[in-house]
Amino acid sequence: MLEIKNLHARVGDKPILKGINLSVGEGEIHAIMGPNGSGKSTLSSVLAGHTDYEVTDGEVIYQGENLLEMEPEERARAGIFLSFQYPVEVPGVKNIYLLKSALNAKRAHQGLDEINPVEFLKLVREKLALMKMDEAFLHRNINEGFSGGEKKRNEILQMQLLEPTLGLLDETDSGLDVDALRIVGEGINHLRAENRSFVMVTHYQRLLDHVKPDYVHVLAGGQIRASGDFTLAQRLEKEGYEGLLAEA
């Protein structure tokens, strides 16, 4: 599904990603852990096509296509969804407008007609219930004045609706209380499917208790320094990055 080879990226003159190699197969869940500032969000942003980052070397193949040549919206329509570490507030644009436009953009890409309003509302209500969110959120401006946890739930709500092929979840668990963590975890599990993959950036094992990854990677200094299964996360919890990376 996703093949990252020797990916280098910088912001301004500052190199951040220094040769990332990662292969994500269909239906797999990969967790990426790593110290602050190691480049985890940069990796997600580069995959989503953020223009602040310049790719200086390497390639990314997504479903057989050269991902790096696609515009951000084309990537989104092709099934890539980024749950932002810091979801952006967009005053003046209603949440429901975003949900509808996003869904219709995707449908147009698939050659489908716009969703009819009744069906849309039914679908959204279903997803709201799943995320235990109040309908009032639909009529608020995107993320404006949302609490930290509400923003994260709103990201997963959008993901539920858009049903991506590849979900990039950047610290979706940070700032969540225990109940919200469970809801978000269930939200992700709900979407697990044979043809759907996830790359989850997280600092804590607690999310991984809800959503069990197939692989765990440690990103440090712009490179993947260690990879393993679920037990790697447990080792990290005990030894910390310093200990673990010293051994590696």
């Binding site: 515009e71 919206e73 989104a76 932002f84 967009v90 644009v93 975003l98 959008q158």
Partner: protein
């Protein structure tokens, strides 16, 4: 003949009008040498002779109604009040015999002088019996006429006035207006001024005086035109008087918009708030100049001023100048002004959800203006405005 010479020749015969005429002859029309006229000028009027206005309109005033805004309609054509086209409504009486408040001094600038010299004053009295909104429609028809309405609102104690002042019509005239609002204690005025003329040169002076516990709200919406200048001064003259001045100006092509506001806190315990937003595209030019003056005696004043501008083209121009003049220590004041482009992170967020770049830009531009539309305390007007803002954009975002 120039516009100035025409305006001088249109003066009325009363002593006050003749003296205003002398001021006009001495000062001439404002030019860019004046601090307040630094950025935008009336140069295009230099070689434009103006004729006296004619109230010639054979259409239907209802064409200009705002859907859902049910109001008593008063109609002016080229500055001349047209009683046959206007509604009678309980709580509202008008007269052309009143004594002028003369709050907008002819010495202020040539336009104030021209209006005083040439206009016929209409006084409108508002009593607490008025329950219906009022729609003042100012039509501009024809070309090169000098329309000079002059209005004086007397809003009596406890009365409430909700008034839409709409400027519309295809005319390429000069519309040079003066409005005075006299709010007695506990009165409330909500005024919406909608500038919807693209060809007219529109200049206006508004002066409001707000008495004890009274509230004056002004929302100016400039949808863009050849030359629009709106200058307003609000005096908070008794305790607990409040005012809010909001504005939205949108210029594209070679349109020009010039907003000047001045709020004066003259006594303790008054509150003012202001929020103006502007969008400039093409070769459009806009100016926002907002002064809040807090006098020596005006302790326990609170004032907040916000101005945000969106510059969408590198040939467009916006000149914001927020100014606080505070002469008392016991004051809560904030102000801020920004000029910027669309926010890259917001645009990326929308694109990450599959929304195309052009639509995303249109959406964010809409959202920027929408904050002023949302703040209109009148749903039909807010909706009308949203549709108009959306229409000016390359995409359907509603």
């Amino acid at each position: 003949m120039s516009a100035l010479e025409s305006l001088i020749s249109h003066s009325g015969s009363s002593a006050e009008q003749q003296s205003a005429r002398a001021v006009l002859a001495r000062m001439g029309l404002p030019n860019r040498r004046l601090e307040d006229w630094k950025y935008l000028s009336l140069k295009h009027l230099e070689n434009e002779a103006l004729t006296a206005p004619v109230a010639d309109f054979d259409g239907h005033a209802s064409e200009y109604d705002i859907p859902g805004f049910n109001a008593a309609r008063l109609v002016w054509v080229n500055g001349i009040f047209c009683a046959p086209l206007s509604d009678q409504v309980t709580g509202l009486t008008w007269s052309n015999q009143a004594q002028d408040l003369d709050w907008v001094s002819p010495e202020l600038d040539g336009l104030a002088a021209a209006n005083r010299a040439g206009a016929e004053l209409m006084e409108i009295q508002v009593s607490p019996e008025l329950v219906m909104p009022v729609h003042c429609l100012f039509l501009s028809i024809g070309e090169q006429q000098a329309a000079q309405p002059r209005l004086q609102w007397r809003v009596s104690a406890n009365a409430q006035l909700e008034v839409l002042e709409q400027h519309a019509g295809p005319g390429a005239n000069l519309v040079n207006m003066v409005s005075q609002f006299d709010l007695a204690a506990d009165a409330k005025v909500t005024r919406y001024k909608l500038l919807n003329t693209t060809q007219a040169t529109h200049t206006a002076h508004t002066h409001a005086r707000v008495a004890k516990n009274a509230d004056f709200q002004n929302h100016v919406i400039d949808l863009g035109g050849r030359f629009h200048r709106d200058q307003i001064k609000v005096e908070l003259s008794e305790a607990r008087a409040t005012t809010r001045l909001n504005g939205l100006y949108m210029v594209d092509g070679r349109y020009q918009s010039d907003s000047h506001t001045r709020i004066e806190h003259l006594v303790p315990q008054c509150t003012s708030a202001q929020h103006y937003r502007g969008i400039a595209n093409g070769r459009g030019k806009a100016v926002f100049n907002g002064i809040v003056y807090i006098g020596k005696n005006a302790s326990q004043s609170a004032t907040e001023q916000k101005n945000a501008n969106l510059l969408l083209s590198n040939k467009a121009e916006i000149n914001p100048k927020p100014e606080l003049q505070i002469h008392n220590d016991d004051v809560v004041a904030s102000h801020g002004s920004t000029v910027g482009n669309l926010d890259d992170d917001q645009l990326f967020y929308l694109r990450q959800r599959g929304i195309g770049e052009d639509e995303g830009r249109a959406l964010l531009t809409f959202a920027f203006a929408e904050q002023i539309a949302q703040a209109l305390p009148c749903a039909p007007l807010a909706e009308y405005l949203e549709q108009r803002i959306a229409k000016n954009l390359p995409m359907d975002v509603l």
